[in-house]
C-alpha cells in the first residue's frame, strides 16, 4: 500500500431520504477507492442520518472526496478525521465450538482478557461479543482462529463520535433554520 495513505474516517450527515447512500458510495466508486467499513444510523438530531465511513487515502484525495460528498444536495455536512480526533468503537460477534472451548482453557482466558462477553452457551456452540478497537477485535479473532474453534465471525463497521461536545452540524443547522 502507498505509504502516504492513512486510514481516514468520514462522518457524513444527511437528510433521511432514500438513495443517499447510493450517491455517497458512487463518489468512492468513481475514484476507485475501496470503502473499508461503513455504518449508517440515526444521529442525535431528528431526521438527520449519520454515516461513518473508513477508507485508506491520502489527504489530497480525501479532501476531494469529502467535498464531492458534501456537494450532494441532501447531504448536510461531511468531514474527515484521523483516529486521534475521534472516539472510535467497533463490535464483533464470534461463534465458537463449545467442545473445543471446553478442551482448551486458554480460549476462555483469552476471551476474559479481551473483556469480551459470553452471550450464549449451549452444548454445540457459544456466542461471544466484543466491543472495542479494531486491533482488539483482530487480536481476539487471530487467537480464536489459532485454536480452530471459530464457527462464525462478523464485525460491525466503525462507529465514531467526535471530541466536540455536540453533533458537528448542530450550529450549522441552527443558522440554516434561522434563514
Amino acid at each position: 500500500m502507498d505509504s502516504n495513505k492513512k486510514l481516514y474516517t468520514l462522518l457524513v450527515y444527511s437528510e433521511n431520504i432514500a438513495g443517499i447512500l447510493n450517491q455517497i458510495t458512487a463518489v468512492f466508486t468513481r475514484r476507485q477507492v475501496n470503502i473499508e467499513s461503513l455504518n449508517v444510523s440515526a444521529s442525535s438530531i431528528a431526521g438527520i442520518h449519520k454515516y461513518t465511513i473508513t477508507v485508506w487515502s491520502d489527504e489530497e484525495q480525501i479532501v476531494k472526496i469529502t467535498k464531492s460528498i458534501e456537494k450532494k444536495i441532501d447531504v448536510v455536512k461531511a468531514n474527515y478525521f484521523l483516529d486521534d480526533d475521534l472516539f472510535i468503537h467497533e463490535v464483533a460477534l464470534f461463534k465458537i465450538s463449545t467442545p473445543v472451548l471446553m478442551e482448551h482453557s486458554e480460549i476462555s482466558r483469552s476471551i476474559r482478557k479481551h473483556d469480551a462477553r459470553m452471550m450464549e452457551v449451549n452444548p454445540t456452540y457459544a456466542t461471544v461479543l466484543l466491543a472495542g478497537l479494531t486491533e482488539d477485535i483482530a487480536d481476539l479473532f487471530n487467537q480464536l482462529n489459532e485454536f480452530g474453534c471459530l464457527l462464525q465471525y462478523t464485525r460491525s463497521g466503525r462507529i465514531a463520535v467526535t471530541r466536540s461536545k455536540e453533533e458537528m452540524i448542530s450550529d450549522y443547522l441552527e443558522t440554516q433554520e434561522k434563514r
Binding site: G19, N22, Q23, K67, K71, I73
Partner: protein, 571 residues
C-alpha cells in the same frame, strides 16, 4: 375556501406555470400520457400557458432545452416518457451537468405498484441519473408534485446551475390530491451562495495590487452570475488582460481591449503562452478543465493563483490555488475591485501582441483569407462572423467545426455561445440551435456543424420544419470526422481508421424537409451565399464544401504544457 382536488398531472401543469415555464421540449409516450393529456389543453385556446416543441428524438429534447437555457438564462424543460424516452435524454443531462446548465427533465414512469417488476418501459431512472444530475427524485404521490417541482427548479437554477431529473410514476399523475401551493426557496442541507470571506477578498486584492503581470481567466461563471459589468470594472480598474474559456467566450466582448483571446488546446497562442509568464493568475468562474490546462503538473507554476468559484468542490480539484474566493462572482468581483488600486500594465499587455502577431500571420490570415484551393472552415466562419457583426448567437457541434467557429466568431452580446464544452457531445449543435431560437427569438442563431455531428441529429430537421425554427445551419462538410482524422494523422501514423464518411445528398435531404438550401464551393460566392442565408426568413441550410484534410491550429498536443502550443503541426 373550498378545497380544490386535482390530479398529479394537473398539479404538474400548475407547478410548471408557477415557475415561469413557457416552453417545453418533449416527446409523448405511454407512461407520460396523462400529463400530455393535460398539456393538450394548456397549449391552445384561452387556457394556453405553454408552447410544446415536439422534437424527433428525446436526446434532442434535452439538447434543445440546453440551448434554450444557455441563451435565455431560464431553466430548460423537457417532458418525456419512461424507459427509453428517459434514458435518451441522459446524454443531454450529463452534458448539462458538465457545463452547469439548468435543466429540469420530467419523465414518466410505470406506476409505483409495478416498480421493480421489469414492467414495460421501466428503468431505474433515479438510480442511473443520480451521478449525472444535481438532484434526481421520484414523485410517488400527487401530493408531492408541487413541492418536488418547486424544489427542482430552485436547485436547477440556484448556485452553480445544473440538471434535475424528476421521475413521475403514472399513478402519481392520475391520482388526485388537494392542490396546495408550495414554494421552495431554501434547502437546509444546501448552500447555493456561500458567504464571502473578508480576509480572502483582502488577500486576493493584495496579490493583484502587487502583481506586475496579472492575467485573468474568464469562464462561464461570469455569464451564469450575470457579472459581465462587474468583470469589466474589475479588469479595467487594475488593467488586467484576460483570456476566455470556450464557455466564457461571450462573457467579455470580443473587441474589448483587455480581451486577449480564447484559452485551451486550440485557443489563442498568446493566452496559452502568457499563462506561463504571468505572476498572478486570476481564474473567474472557470474550472481548469484539462483542455485549458494541458498537463497540470507544469501549469502556471510561477504564478500565485486566485480562484473565484461558487462551487467549493472546484477549489484545488484540478489546479491548486493560493487564494480560494468561494462565492458568487457577482459579489466577489466588486468586493475585490473596491480594494484594488487603479493600475496600468501597459508593457505587459503589449507583450501579448508579439504572440498575437505570430498567430495572425501564421494561422489566422491563412485560415480566413486563403489565396487558393478548396474552401477552408475559417474563411466560412469569418464571413458569417462579419455579416452578423457580433450580434448573432453561435451554436456549434463538436470537433473541428466547434474549435474553428469558436475561434473566429465575434461576440458583442452576453449569452451568445452555445457549445458542448465539457462533455463534447456530437449531435449537440442542431437541437441546441433549435432551443436557442426559442430562448432568444429576436436574435439570429447560426449553427456550425460538421458532417458527422449533423448526421447524429439530422432527424431534428423535422422539428425545424414543423416549427419553422429560424436556424441558420452552416454545414462544414469535409467528408471526414475531422478532429479524429487530425489526431490520427498526428498520433496514429496517419491511419484514418473509420473517419472517412460517405455523405448523403444534403440538397435532397433539405428538399425533403422543405428547408431552403444552397451549396458553397467557390470562395468568390461565399459572401453572397451567406448573405442570402441570413436574409432568408426561417431556417436555411448552407452546405460548404471544405478542404478534406484541414487541420486546426494552433494546437497544444495532449500531454504537453500550454507553452508548448504549436502554430504549425509536424507529422
Amino acid at each position: 375556501m373550498a378545497k380544490e382536488v386535482i390530479t398529479g398531472a394537473e398539479a404538474l401543469m400548475r407547478s410548471l406555470h408557477k415557475e415561469g415555464v413557457e416552453t417545453i421540449f418533449g416527446y409523448p409516450g405511454g407512461a407520460i400520457m396523462p400529463v400530455f393529456d393535460h398539456l393538450y389543453h394548456y397549449t391552445r385556446g384561452e387556457s394556453k400557458m405553454f408552447d410544446h416543441i415536439l422534437v424527433r428524438h428525446e436526446q434532442a429534447a434535452a439538447h434543445a432545452a440546453q440551448g434554450y437555457a444557455r441563451v435565455s438564462g431560464d431553466v430548460g424543460v423537457c417532458l418525456v416518457t419512461s424507459g427509453p424516452g428517459a434514458t435518451n435524454t441522459l446524454t443531454g443531462v450529463a452534458d448539462a451537468m458538465m457545463d452547469s446548465t439548468p435543466l429540469v427533465v420530467i419523465a414518466g414512469q410505470v406506476g409505483v405498484g409495478a416498480l421493480g417488476t421489469d414492467a414495460f418501459q421501466e428503468v431505474d431512472l433515479v438510480g442511473v441519473a443520480q451521478p449525472i444530475t444535481k438532484w434526481a427524485y421520484q414523485i410517488r404521490r400527487p401530493e408531492d408534485v408541487a413541492w418536488a417541482v418547486s424544489r427542482a427548479f430552485y436547485i436547477a437554477r440556484s448556485g452553480r446551475p445544473g440538471p434535475v431529473v424528476l421521475d413521475f410514476p403514472k399513478n402519481a399523475q392520475t391520482h388526485t390530491c388537494e392542490w396546495i401551493d408550495v414554494k421552495v426557496d431554501h434547502v437546509r442541507s444546501y448552500e447555493p451562495y456561500p458567504k464571502l470571506k473578508e480576509d480572502v477578498i483582502r488577500r486576493a486584492a493584495d496579490l493583484i495590487n502587487q502583481a506586475e503581470r496579472p492575467f485573468a481567466l474568464v469562464g462561464q461563471g461570469v455569464e451564469l452570475g450575470n457579472a459581465h459589468h462587474e468583470l469589466m470594472e474589475f479588469l479595467e480598474k487594475a488593467d488586467i488582460p484576460a483570456g476566455r474559456t470556450l464557455l466564457g467566450l461571450s462573457a467579455l466582448p470580443s473587441n474589448h481591449p483587455l480581451n486577449m483571446g480564447m484559452l485551451g488546446m486550440h485557443g489563442s497562442y498568446a493566452t496559452n503562452l502568457k499563462t506561463q509568464e504571468c505572476d498572478v493568475l486570476i481564474a473567474i468562474g472557470m474550472r481548469f478543465s484539462d483542455r485549458v490546462t494541458g498537463v497540470p503538473s507544469t501549469y502556471a507554476k510561477q504564478a500565485h493563483i486566485i480562484h473565484l468559484d461558487i462551487d467549493s468542490a472546484e477549489i484545488n480539484k484540478n489546479i491548486k490555488c493560493e487564494v480560494p474566493v468561494i462565492g458568487d462572482c457577482k459579489k466577489s468581483l466588486p468586493a475585490i475591485t473596491r480594494l484594488l488600486k487603479k493600475n496600468s500594465h501597459t508593457e505587459w499587455i503589449a507583450s501579448f501582441e508579439t504572440y498575437r502577431q505570430m498567430e495572425e500571420e501564421q494561422v489566422i490570415q491563412p485560415d480566413i483569407h486563403p489565396a487558393e484551393g478548396p474552401l477552408l472552415m475559417g474563411e466560412v466562419v469569418n464571413v458569417v462572423a462579419e455579416a452578423t457583426a457580433g450580434k448573432a448567437v453561435l451554436v456549434n457541434d463538436v470537433g473541428q467545426n466547434q474549435m474553428i467557429s469558436s475561434r473566429y466568431f465575434k461576440f458583442h452580446t452576453r449569452r451568445s455561445i452555445v457549445t458542448s464544452g465539457g462533455f463534447g457531445t456530437m449531435g449537440f449543435g442542431l437541437p441546441a440551435a433549435v432551443g436557442a431560437t426559442f430562448g432568444s427569438p429576436d436574435r439570429t442563431v447560426c449553427c456550425f456543424m460538421g458532417d458527422g455531428g449533423f448526421q447524429m441529429s439530422i432527424q431534428e430537421l423535422g422539428t425545424i420544419m414543423e416549427q419553422q425554427a429560424p436556424v441558420k445551419m452552416i454545414l462544414l462538410n469535409n467528408n471526414y470526422l475531422g478532429n479524429v482524422r487530425q489526431w490520427q494523422d498526428l498520433m496514429f501514423g496517419g491511419r484514418r481508421s473509420f473517419t472517412h464518411m460517405m455523405n448523403p445528398r444534403y440538397a435532397d435531404i433539405a428538399k425533403g424537409y422543405g428547408i431552403p438550401y444552397d451549396i458553397a464551393v467557390d470562395r468568390r460566392d461565399l459572401k453572397k451565399k451567406v448573405a442570402q442565408m441570413l436574409n432568408t426568413e426561417g431556417p436555411y441550410l448552407l452546405e460548404c464544401v471544405i478542404k478534406e484534410d484541414e487541420d486546426i491550429v494552433p494546437m497544444t498536443m495532449p500531454g504537453k504544457s500550454v507553452d508548448e502550443m504549436q502554430l504549425t503541426l509536424t507529422y
